[in-house]
Symmetry: C2
Subunit: 409 residues, 2 copies
């Protein structure tokens, strides 16, 4: 059961002029599953991507990077579930390229204008023949209001499709932003998303797109973690179709640039947090907020030490205010000259620890009350400076073990 | 159920001349549990300790460091379970000191000749009064052949007492080595042990003891991991009572020094591996061996990435040869210029992946056969150099979640 994650609100999933999406059942791994999606993009769109830092990055990620580097422009994306095409060596690269060639032929474009994405089991050969056989049906299905269907089409262990949209006024014109994401396990920053796609009909110069994609990732997908495993396939793609008639945005510091970025960040955060809310076996949504650090980096270290600790995560699962485990995680986060005597710990509004020890006024029943909630904020004050960082995570349950012990079955 | 970990063999738990151990039930947290031990050490012993790197180190760890630094010599150790006296601030320090003073008074020694150890729940006040009330009974119980009873007396979530001993001939004289350890969760290198005590009646100069303790920790307790959480209380203490009449060892490179160190390392490794075999919820004992690295540090990074991955650990639990998860962990281990095309992966004798992709000769049933075993070696060849490292870990089961969700109940 995901944590406070309703089904997407179809009314907010605005069609984006210049983007059509088609989904089909290609039988990649199992029959009767929506497992193949194509996203068709009109000529002239600005597109950028941010990809996994995993050195074992998947074949499609390598192909995406190559194709983006050509500067030929992106005209289509091709997404399959059921197989990640990772840990597949040179053969995996050949199969990824083969699917791009097949789609390019059907669309009459250059194969290098296609970005391929795969998600699913690692180290098994991609059944590229079945994917290629399914392309025609996916193309036939393509239409602008297919975002929800695409969100379903990219699910693996997700229990809920993840899609959000919003609108914002830029230069007096209403622009729309819609995005989808997938992912529930193997989630850790750099990138956390597994897959995320966000499109807008706003006008953004191609030269600004990479910076926009990076900033969106930093404020959303790179701040969530489920289990600390960094996927081989994580990708976030941001598309601006340049269809609305406002002045082209070429700086994120301009009024229009800020307005668009903030609206897109809202969508990206919703998509990223949805991944945590739907974290494998998650029963609670935890916000970890670190304040008073010397710099952002040490705040992130502490935040992730807490967010990755199996002991902290199982205590949240049990609603057990065994909060010393949080202090222990702060202590081993790798901030070498940390003075434990300066640490303050809060659980929502409850002041649990002060000066590195239990707060004399802390009562177990207050901690217990907060621990029973489905949404909890852990706040740690380091008392060393003014930097702060926030990450989002979930608890660690029996169900996580069950899901990951059974995933391939 | 621990993995291939029988009860200690009483016949190998040699009494160490100059060491007497007493255990009692002091009711620290619950009644009817052996929870208080004293280790009485004759004057003239050489003693050194290695302690947690956690910045939130517990009060007793801080007191141990202070007391060792005085150079007054160690005459007793005081160990309680049920309460870790960590995350307790200045009040916790005062309580730890109080227990040392009480024991010093009864033994007629200086309080700074006592090393205190606490293990159990974090961030709760140490019931020092109950500990002090129990001291007389523990002292009365003290005798040389009490090692097994002490191993029982320091257990928390351990299911099996951990004790090993051996003998070795040094300069024509038989010397004995006996050690105990405890720990099952919150186990990660630097230090992994939670608590370990190893004593020998051999003669070792005090000036050599710290180096000996460090090298023993590096080859044993610092190479095991259960859940990646570094405890606030981890401590390893090494004692040489200097009772056997061979020439004093003052170098680990001498013939005698090597012989003693190797024998002690054997005991330390058994004690450290016992912690993994008894890892919370463990059903399998996994050896992770990394070869062909440029240096030891990068080998350890890769080894721990594999050993800490919840996805890898749940796959072992399920006996599912979902081995791409191991490649993914290699990829995110933080070796920035790793070339995935050079990676070879073996599961025991089965060659799973070659040149970064699935080995064409690999058959799923071969992987399956190895995964079903209770002891498995994962071997990764990085193809970059000649360094290698080995760490030991266990799988990740439903039972781990149950134990850690229920620990305080």
């Amino acid at each position: 059961m995901p944590v406070n994650l309703p089904l997407p609100d179809f009314a907010t999933l605005f069609p984006i002029a210049g983007v059509r999406i088609g989904v089909t059942e290609a039988g990649v791994r199992k029959v009767g599953r929506k497992d193949l999606s194509v996203v068709l993009i009109d000529e002239g769109a600005s597109v950028a991507g941010v990809f996994t830092t995993n050195r074992f990055c998947a074949a499609p990620v390598q192909v995406c990077r190559e194709h983006l580097a050509t500067g030929l422009g992106v005209r289509a994306m091709l997404i399959n579930t059921g197989n990640a095409n990772a840990g597949t060596g040179a053969d995996g690269l050949a199969r990824a390229r083969s699917t791009c060639r097949a789609l390019a032929q059907q669309l009459g474009i250059d194969a290098r204008q296609i970005l391929p994405f795969s998600t699913g089991v690692i180290m098994e050969p991609l059944p590229h023949d079945r994917i290629e056989a399914g392309l025609q049906a996916a193309i036939t299905d393509a239409k602008p209001d297919n975002w929800l269907r695409a969100a379903e089409g990219i699910m693996t262990t997700d229990t809920v499709p993840k899609a959000f949209g919003t609108q914002v006024t830029i230069g007096g014109q209403v622009v729309s932003i819609t995005g989808i994401s997938k992912g529930a396990g193997m989630i850790r920053p750099n990138m956390a998303t597994m897959l995320g796609f966000i499109a807008t009909d706003a006008c953004v110069s191609q030269s600004l797109m990479h910076q926009l994609a990076l900033e969106l990732a930093e404020g959303s997908f790179n701040r969530v973690t489920v289990d600390g495993d960094t996927s081989t396939n994580d990708s976030l793609v941001v598309i601006a179709t340049n269809k609305v008639g406002h002045a082209v945005i070429d700086s994120l510091d301009s009024i229009d640039g800020k307005a668009l970025k903030n609206a897109m960040l809202g969508v990206a955060r919703n998509l990223a947090q949805a991944i945590v809310r739907d974290g494998e076996g998650a029963t609670k949504f935890i916000t970890v907020q670190i304040e008073g650090g010397r710099n952002a980096q040490e705040c992130r270290k502490v935040a992730y030490a807490i967010a990755h600790s199996p002991l902290v995560k199982t205590a949240f699962y049990a609603s057990d205010p065994n909060l010393g485990r949080i202090l222990a995680a702060v202590g081993y986060a790798g901030v070498d000259d940390l003075d434990q005597g300066c640490i303050e710990l809060f659980l929502d509004d409850v002041h649990v620890a002060t000066q590195g020890g239990r707060n004399p006024n802390y009562r177990e029943e207050d901690g217990q009350r907060v621990m029973r909630q489905s949404e909890i904020t852990v706040r740690v004050e380091l008392g060393r400076g003014t930097a702060s960082e926030t990450v989002w995570t979930c608890d660690f349950s029996h169900e996580y073990v069950t899901i990951n012990a059974d995933y391939r079955s």
